[in-house]
């Protein structure tokens, strides 16, 4: 059911993208040809890209190609858009996964710690650090990390990209980008986890657990944390949009040849087939990630799974 609805959303996005691109002012073929051209060349190019056909027919052709995984050819490089995006996808996905590997443990862990030490100096320190964290753009975090850890102390390489391999070389290159993308997200998650946990501390089942003699620590980990995670997971779903956008920024900063770099080039060059492909791939990453979050949600909150109405929320 959820898979079907995510698939349907993607198809709707695809259709919207197609028609929006046709409404872009200016003739794309004139754009590519420049100011001096032969009429025959103009007609040949229009026919080559199927732009002389009626709009609906263009859409049907594009759509049926899309269903077969064919996104057309780049106007800029003449290469297949789907092959190029497919080749670049692993780097972007890895960046997002590594950033989550930074953001989730750090954010949830420090959130629990701050709530546990509520009102104490540690709590204030975490709150101040996270306020700074949510106010720093990814590219400035990345620039500062680069200045400190690559240019000053030379712990990690500043830029450059190593294709995926289980090697220190590869992960050393990915470390700074992953931190730049992950740290601001960790700050958001931490603030949420802290707030959510403080709210849960006031619930009856927490008091019941303390009353039956469980220690505060046991109560925290046996009951409070799992329940406090539920709203946090919802927000992680919303955060994925920021992660995907942030990945494009971080790719540009650290010169990583991922999907984002491709999309940005395509936008600057007004390479419409590539822009369409880029938007679709980003939307797909985003929808799939949200699907995973939904499944996680089912696992965390049995009330949704069984359809029972919870009294707590």
């Amino acid at each position: 059911m959820r898979v079907a609805s995510a698939g349907a959303t993607l198809l709707v996005v695809a259709a919207i993208v197609f028609f929006v691109m046709r409404f872009v002012p200016g003739d794309p073929v004139l754009n590519w040809l420049g100011t001096s051209y032969e009429k025959a060349d103009y007609d040949r190019l229009r026919a080559l890209y199927g732009l002389d056909l009626p709009l609906l027919q263009q859409f049907l052709i594009w759509f049926s190609n899309l269903l077969q995984g064919d996104l057309g050819y780049s106007v800029l490089t003449q290469l297949s858009v789907s092959e190029e995006l497919w080749r670049r996808l692993p780097a972007t996905l890895e960046l997002i996964v590594l950033a989550l590997a930074v953001a989730l443990p750090l954010g949830i862990g420090s959130g629990i710690w701050a709530a546990w030490r509520y009102g104490k100096p540690a709590d204030h320190a975490v709150l101040t650090a996270t306020l700074l964290g949510i106010s720093l753009p990814e590219f400035f975090v990345g620039a500062l990390l680069m200045l400190a850890l690559a240019l000053q102390w030379r712990v990690f390489p500043a830029t450059g990209f190593e294709p995926f391999a289980w090697s220190t070389e590869h992960f050393a290159h990915m470390a700074l980008p992953a931190l730049a993308l992950g740290l601001p997200r960790a700050a958001v998650i931490c603030r949420l986890m802290r707030g959510s946990l403080l709210e849960v501390f006031g619930r009856p089942y927490v008091r019941a657990s303390l009353a039956k003699g469980l220690s505060r620590k046991a109560t925290l980990f046996a009951h409070a944390v799992r329940n406090a995670l539920i709203p946090v997971v919802t927000v992680i779903g919303l955060q994925i949009g920021y992660l995907v956008a942030g990945a494009v920024v971080v790719e540009k900063l650290f010169v990583i040849p991922g999907v984002g770099a491709y999309g940005l080039n395509a936008v600057t060059a007004r390479d419409y087939p590539s822009v369409q492909g880029f938007i679709l791939v980003v939307a797909a990453i985003f929808l799939i990630a949200n699907l995973i979050v939904d499944l996680l949600y089912l696992w965390l909150d049995p009330r949704i799974r069984t359809g029972a109405q919870g009294a707590g929320r």
Binding site: T9, V17, V20, M21, F23, V24, P25, L131, L132, I134, S135, L136, P137, E138, F139, F140, A143, L144, M146, L147, L151, L192, G195, P231, V235, G237, L238, I240, G241, Y242, V244, A245, G246, V248, V249, K252, L253, G263, L264, V267, T268, R270, V275, I279, V282, A283, F286, N290
Partner: protein, 284 residues
């Protein structure tokens, strides 16, 4: 008839007692004066090129140094801030004007109207800013307006969702029934009795939205999706200076610190207002 004006005055007083609110308001005021008054305050024009001063270190001539073209970094940072703050405030204003009435309408009227508006909110809510920004840039060209429209489209559903929830709970209260009984039309009830209840949460969310919009505008300029150069912008200037980071770190640090200060000021204000109002909701 409405108690809102009296309530608002006392709320403002209550908010002012919070040190967080006072300090962040002061910082925002200073930033606004510095950036909007950049034309008078900045020592140089933002596009004044001086080859002899290329990468000049901070000193007498250039307080915080010069960039690759010898342009004064301080002047560019002040001028660039105008764009960031104007975009942030404008996008938020548009989102409030669009989102709050839409959400209140959905919550108060209910039925098919609610269903339709809610579906649109759900669809737009989590959409990555960058995709919308690319689409508006292609449709509307390079300009301030396309960035503002993209950001306000991203922010609108958040305001709509919140005012819908607020309107839903207010619609149950007895004074709404009394207003209906006294013969007031739906439009008047919404304007005079439902919308005032959204004031506090909208104010908090709007403050946080400005922070978000400034951050997003910086990222878009960084990616080259904002105003094209030589227009000064924090994100764009930082990006342009990255290649000379080691040689002239001030060219990167100045716009970076400026972005952080501006975003921090609005986040801090939002935090302070949330403490004061205690609306007990999570945002953004």
């Amino acid at each position: 008839m409405s108690a809102a004006p009296r309530g608002r005055a006392s709320t403002a007083l209550r908010a002012w007692r919070s040190a967080k609110v006072r300090y962040s308001c002061l910082l925002i005021l200073v930033l606004l004066l510095l950036t909007l008054g950049a034309g008078w305050i900045a020592p140089y024009a933002h596009d004044q090129i001086d080859a002899a001063a290329a990468f000049a270190a901070p000193g007498q001539q250039h307080l915080i140094g010069a960039d690759a073209l010898g342009r004064d970094v301080l002047s560019r940072t002040l001028h660039g801030g105008r764009m960031s703050l104007v975009v942030g405030l404008l996008a938020t204003l548009l989102a409030v004007l669009l989102g709050v009435p839409l959400g209140a309408l959905a919550g108060y009227v209910g039925g098919k109207v609610d269903w339709l508006i809610s579906r649109i909110i759900d669809l737009l809510l989590p959409f990555p800013v960058i995709l919308l920004a690319i689409v508006t840039k292609m449709l509307m060209g390079d300009g301030l307006l396309s960035v503002v429209v993209a950001l306000s489209l991203v922010l609108t559903p958040f305001f709509a969702r919140m005012s819908r929830a607020k309107a839903l709970s207010v619609a149950q209260l007895p004074f709404i029934e009394a207003a209906q009984g006294s013969g007031l039309g739906a439009g008047r009830i919404m304007l005079m009795h439902v919308l005032p209840h959204c004031f506090q949460p909208v104010l908090i969310m709007a403050t946080l939205s400005v922070a978000f919009a400034i951050l997003a505008e910086a990222s878009l300029s960084f990616l080259g999706l904002g105003l094209p150069p030589p227009a000064p912008s924090w994100g764009g200037d930082l990006q342009a200076s990255m290649s000379a980071f080691q040689l002239a770190p001030w060219t990167v640090l100045a716009p970076g610190v400026a972005i952080t200060l501006a975003v921090l000021a609005f986040n801090f204000l939002g935090d302070g207002l949330r403490d004061v109002f205690d609306v007990g909701e999570r945002f953004l």
